[in-house]
């Protein structure tokens, strides 16, 4: 770090050069970061014959795109059904996580009681617990309920893995809601549930959306939980399990695999692009102390 050239008071010209260098470096980083996604997208529209004889960048010289891969992925491999399964895993999980975390976080933030701090600290610790620690008992439970079951155990486990974070995130926000607001409602005779539903929740739309987006992405992207509770090949397998299966059997070749993979990332990409504000807020709220 030391030993760099001494900086003599930077003139306007020099700062412009510096900004150009910074822009170029960042642009390069963005190109490097986006290229893999672009490679996937391009390959998913190439024929198997093309994809197995030339690299994806050859489309620059000989552009030829087909949509068959997507048709095959949906018709033959059942990616459409997996898409529905992914929704079936992610949506109820998201609703449950947000609701359960919000109710618990409100009581931890706005009701003072003995043991509250201890519960909160325990949750902070559990937030970092590697999920593998609960894997073996989870498997035993899965065997007990039967692998060809329903989405219910997946929902419960996905909720359990995220709720400690959810409570942490929401508690930080609820603590900032002015207590006078809540006190005056209490004096007016409003029940605690009414205060929560009609005063606190409407103020918290943005932070609830942040938690919802994070949980949706986590549940959508997880491999291990659905793999264990729904099995690798059953009709209930979500996209992650299906794609991992395609990788291991190498069935269908590169073009089918890339099409299935792109279908699996389309929803998360759209969410992060369209709802970036909430995504960023959730990430920051979880990292910075609430």
């Amino acid at each position: 770090m030391s030993g760099s050239a001494p900086d003599i008071a930077g003139g306007v010209g020099e700062s412009r050069v510096k900004q150009a260098v910074a822009s170029a470096c960042l642009a390069l980083l963005c190109v490097v970061w986006f290229t893999p996604v672009l490679a996937l997208l391009v390959t998913s529209f190439r024929t198997e014959a093309d994809a197995s004889t030339s690299g994806w960048w050859s489309v620059l010289f000989a552009p030829r795109f087909v949509i068959e891969n997507y048709v095959d992925a949906i018709r033959i491999t059942g990616v459409g059904r997996s898409l529905v399964n992914s929704i079936a895993v992610a949506v109820p999980t998201t609703i449950g996580t947000v609701l359960i975390s919000a109710i618990a976080a409100y009581s931890l933030a706005k009701m003072s009681f003995r043991g509250g701090v201890a519960v909160f600290l325990a949750l902070v610790g559990l937030q970092v617990l590697p999920p593998q620690v609960v894997l073996v008992p989870m498997l035993k439970l899965a065997n007990a309920v039967g692998i060809n079951g329903t989405f219910v155990p997946v929902w419960i486990f996905e909720m359990g893995l995220t709720i400690p974070f959810g409570v942490f995130l929401l508690r930080g926000f609820f603590a900032g809601v002015p207590s006078e607001l809540i006190e005056s409602a209490r004096i007016d005779g409003a029940s605690e549930l009414r205060i929560f539903l009609q005063i606190v929740l409407p103020l918290s739309g943005a932070v609830l959306a942040s938690l919802a987006i994070l949980q949706f992405l986590i549940a959508w992207n997880h491999l291990l939980t659905p793999l264990i509770f729904l099995g690798g090949t059953s009709g209930l397998a979500p996209l992650t399990v299906q794609v991992a299966g395609l990788v291991q059997t190498e069935g269908g070749g590169m073009s089918l695999l890339t099409a299935a993979t792109f279908i699996s990332i389309a929803v998360p990409l759209l969410i992060v692009i369209a709802l970036q504000r909430y995504f960023v807020r959730g990430v920051l709220g979880g990292a910075v102390k609430g």
Binding site: M1, S2, S4, D7, K18, L29, C30, P36, V37, L40, V84, N85, I87, A88, P92, G96, L99, I100, I103, A104, M111, F113, V124, G125, L126, Q127, V128, P130, Q132, V133, L135, V136, P137, K140, T150, I156, F157, G160, L161, I163, P164, S191, E192, L193, L217, N221, L223, L224, T240, V243, V247, T258, S264, I265, P268, V272, V280, V283, L284, A287
Partner: protein, 319 residues
């Protein structure tokens, strides 16, 4: 398709109905009690759904894992510390070495790149667009990321046309293609880079937020005193960013303990790339030794415990 859709509908209605129904029921009971008792009981009623789920999914299994880690392969007889002796023994050594590599390289590279990216973002005019590009990979699953990077790393014999982006690039520059995922000592770094690619966005967001809290006047004052870019970075930026960097680095360190999907999909632990979490999956499903798998899980917990304690301490200090 019908069972899926009816389950989605059921989940979307039943979960909120159960939770809210429980709270309404609990409130109707509490409301008849004396005020002091209400205040004492209410928080526990409100926390009950959370406590139930966290208990079933995290606390109870944690206890079972502790028990299983001192039991035999089938989870029956007590075997003392045998499984731990195995977990710290010869079979696990290459795996542990890999995890140490992950643990040192991954947080360092990710955090370092994130600091650079955050400082660059602070200086350019296209911050929002650039930020979007950097966080895109964080949205996709590790499975998809692994599929993508298997393509990027694809290797063909030197006389064949290279289909993988990296090797085509090398060839174009006149170098020999590299079997990224097969070559021991190199392949773990190739896997780590996939993780860097997927995590840089979040690390950059957090550090970027830290950069924005550095007061401009402080930087201006340092510049007026004749400090150059390097000195400003070293004596102003870094000290101010330090707490944020620590948060990011510990989060990344914890991530390395959990890393499973990338290794599972890309190499499945072959060619000397195995890590603890993948080894555990192997013990569980291939060898079917519950004792070994649970001892590995405890090892993970042990490695995560410094961060767990640190987080609890900081939160307590802040509360």
């Amino acid at each position: 398709m019908i069972p899926q859709i009816s389950q989605i509908a059921l989940g979307m209605v039943a979960i909120p109905a159960l939770v809210l129904g429980f709270i309404v029921l609990g409130e109707s009971v509490i409301r008849r009690m004396p005020e002091a008792r209400q205040a004492r009981l209410r928080p526990w009623v409100w926390m009950a759904p959370m406590l139930l789920i966290v208990g079933v999914v995290l606390v109870y299994p944690l206890a079972i894992t502790v028990l299983l880690s001192v039991s035999d392969a089938k989870g029956g007889g007590f075997v003392g510390l045998q499984n731990y002796a195995w977990a710290f023994g010869k079979a696990m050594q290459p795996v542990l070495v890999n995890n140490v590599i992950w643990l040192t390289v991954f947080p360092t590279v990710t955090t370092g790149l994130a600091i650079i990216a955050a400082l660059l973002l602070d200086r350019v005019k296209f911050e929002r667009v650039a930020r979007t590009f950097l966080i895109l990979p964080t949205a996709i699953s590790f499975v998809a990321g692994s599929v993508i990077w298997r393509m990027m790393y694809e290797y063909k014999a030197p006389f064949l046309p290279q289909l993988g982006t990296l090797n085509a690039l090398l060839k174009g520059l006149g170098f020999a293609p590299v079997p990224w995922l097969l070559e021991e000592n190199l392949n773990s770094f190739a896997l780590i880079f996939v993780a860097v690619w997927m995590n840089l966005g979040i690390a950059t967001l957090i550090i970027s937020a830290g950069v924005k809290t550095i007061p401009r006047d402080l930087v201006e004052a340092a510049r007026l005193d004749g400090a150059g870019d390097a000195s400003v970075f070293r004596y102003v930026t870094m000290p101010m960013l330090w707490p944020t960097i620590l948060v990011v680095a510990t989060t990344q360190a914890i991530f390395t303990l959990k890393v499973f999907d990338i290794v599972y999909v890309m190499t499945n632990g072959s060619y000397g790339t195995d890590v603890i979490a993948n080894k555990m999956y192997h013990e569980l499903f291939v060898t079917q030794h519950l004792g070994h798998a649970s001892a590995i899980a405890m090892l993970l917990l042990l490695m995560a415990s410094p961060v767990i304690i640190l987080n609890i301490r900081q939160t307590r200090a802040a509360a």
